[in-house]
Amino acid sequence: MVDLSVKIGDLTFQNPIQPASGAFSWEYNEVIDLNRLGALVAKTICREPRMGNPTPRMAETEAGIIQSIGLPGKGIDYFLENIVPEYAKFKPPLVVSVSSESIEDFAALARELSVPNVDVIECNISCPTRNTTGGNFALQEEHTKEVMSAIREATDKPVWAKLSPNAGDLTSIALAAEEAGADALVIANTFLSLKIRTDNFRPALGNKFGGMVSPALKPIVLRMVYQVAKEVKIPVVGVGGVTKAEDVVEYMLAGAHAVGIGYAGFRNPTALTTIIDDLEAWCDERGIEKVTDLIGAVKDDDMEMDPLIAASHGV
């Protein structure tokens, strides 16, 4: 028996496999057993009902898809009344992703989400298709600090900050979120992208820009997780390009406590539970009794710091 459980703050998760916010909803219960997941992660909720972005919302590219959904939803009141009870039917902790364009409203939403069946508030301060003043706080240190501090004051629930891979200096932003009181960091949201159709010269997405989702992004996000995990004391959840158990292992070796999975569940609707099975088998074959033994266990102590990384640290 392998112990797959991980702790993030005071919360215990039965395994490190979580759906990525936006790529998951309770409807997956029609395909897989949701009680097997490490956590349930609801789609980002906003104050008001939102239709979302114009279609097409997805375009295929050479190496992944770009999508621009626009955070559709029925608003916070409907969510608390109707969607939270849907998730409460299942055992894993519920992580609720939330977004707003104003700091005050962000904090108010966090306060309103502080109800018994919500276990974690994931602050989506990095939606790629919102600009800096429109909710993409995670592009700048001071915006990150301001919004996370306000949210921290508004709730006693664990708060996770979802960061942006589009930020110039991710480590500084991670440190700002930690200093503001975040209990964990989710790295990362999608990469801002563009596709232009050569048949009609128009952007392929109705919203022009989209966020890229692809296994091709895994080495890049893995590097980000590695760099940030070395600098912060709070846990990191790695999100980007996980399609198999070995990817989970890689993220954990780089320092992640858990992973979020999006694309793989689109491609193979049973992927999340399969990856849990495969991760257990992978650990078992190698005599690894606790999956937490993998966290940060990358063997690189004898390697010199990369000059580029050293420079960014002022070494």
Binding site: E27, M51, I69, T270
Partner: protein, 290 residues
């Protein structure tokens, strides 16, 4: 641990035709089907017959499967392709898809041959509904849209409901499933672009005639925004209810990603619905064309 072969890049727990079902209480599955045959039926369309796990055979008319198509060009096909069921043969344990070879996904499907495996997930969505009070229905489809309407006609025939199938295509040799509709006992009317008989005015006259003769208790359509609008107009004028099967670019297929949205107008208010979850079959009168 990193020397995986390319085909081991993704997890694959799809259920084979003879596997026990690991999720017996789940209505939707991911299946590894075996290709029985995959033959051209005319210059543009192919019929794929798959041997699948019996849970896949619970699909009914209007539902769809999400297909993980092989790659036609060496590059990756990143998303599944939604495709409505053409036929369910429970006795033979087979599922059939009639498809037009057009995009990257279907060009990949063309390459599959007898004995190959094909990952399909489903059955998904809400299909057609036949009200017990309807004695005669009209199905109006264009192009590959007729593939979606074929199992509905079969369902109607099995329930003793009369079917008139109006089949529209560019050219007469591309009219799909005329024989199948005919074998089901449907009256078939074929209209084509090449002689102008598929013009909206002519199709309108055909539908008006069917309504006048009591042959149209309900309308069903798929495959053409123009024909949908015509059926809506006549449906409103003569108080004929209807259903439309719609398509949209789709990602997850189960209702999680909100990519496959279409616009609907309900009581004067515009709203978006998920084709995969609230559809793909919708109230014809509420659908806004594409």
């Amino acid at each position: 641990m990193n020397d995986l072969a390319p085909n081991e890049k993704y997890t694959d727990s799809a259920i084979r035709p003879d596997d026990p079902d690991p999720y017996p209480d789940k209505p939707v599955g991911e299946f590894l089907a075996n290709v029985v045959s995959n033959e051209w039926v005319n210059a543009e369309y192919k019929l794929m017959v798959l041997k699948t796990h019996k849970k896949a055979l619970t699909a009914y008319a209007g539902q769809f499967f999400h297909l993980l198509c092989p790659t036609p060009d060496g590059a990756e096909v990143w998303m599944r392709r939604p495709m409505s069921v053409y036929k369910v043969d429970k006795a033979a344990g087979q599922l059939e898809f009639l498809y037009k070879c057009e995009g990257r996904g279907t060009k990949g499907m063309v390459m599959l041959g007898t004995g190959d495996t094909f990952n399909v997930s489903g059955p998904l969505g809400i299909g057609f509904h036949l009200d017990p009070s309807w004695k005669n229905i009209v199905v109006l489809g264009r192009g590959v849209g007729l593939a979606t309407l074929a199992p509905l006609s079969q369902l109607a025939a099995e329930n003793g409901v009369g079917v008139t199938a109006v089949l529209s295509a560019r050219k007469s040799d591309l009219v799909m499933s005329e024989d199948l509709f005919h074998d089901l006992g449907a009256d078939t009317v074929t209209v084509v672009d090449e002689d102008g008989s598929s013009d909206v005015g002519n199709v309108e006259a055909i539908l008006e005639g069917l309504i006048a003769n009591g042959r149209a208790d309900a309308f069903f359509t798929c495959g053409s925004s123009r024909l949908l609008k015509l059926m809506q107009t006549l449906g409103k004028k003569h108080n004929v209810p209807g259903q439309v099967a719609m398509e949209q670019i789709m990602v997850c297929g189960v209702g999680a990603c909100y990519v496959c949205m279409r616009t609907f107008e309900i009581n004067g208010e515009r709203t978006l619905k998920r084709v995969c979850r609230e559809g793909p079959v919708f109230n014809m009168l509420e659908a806004v064309g594409w």
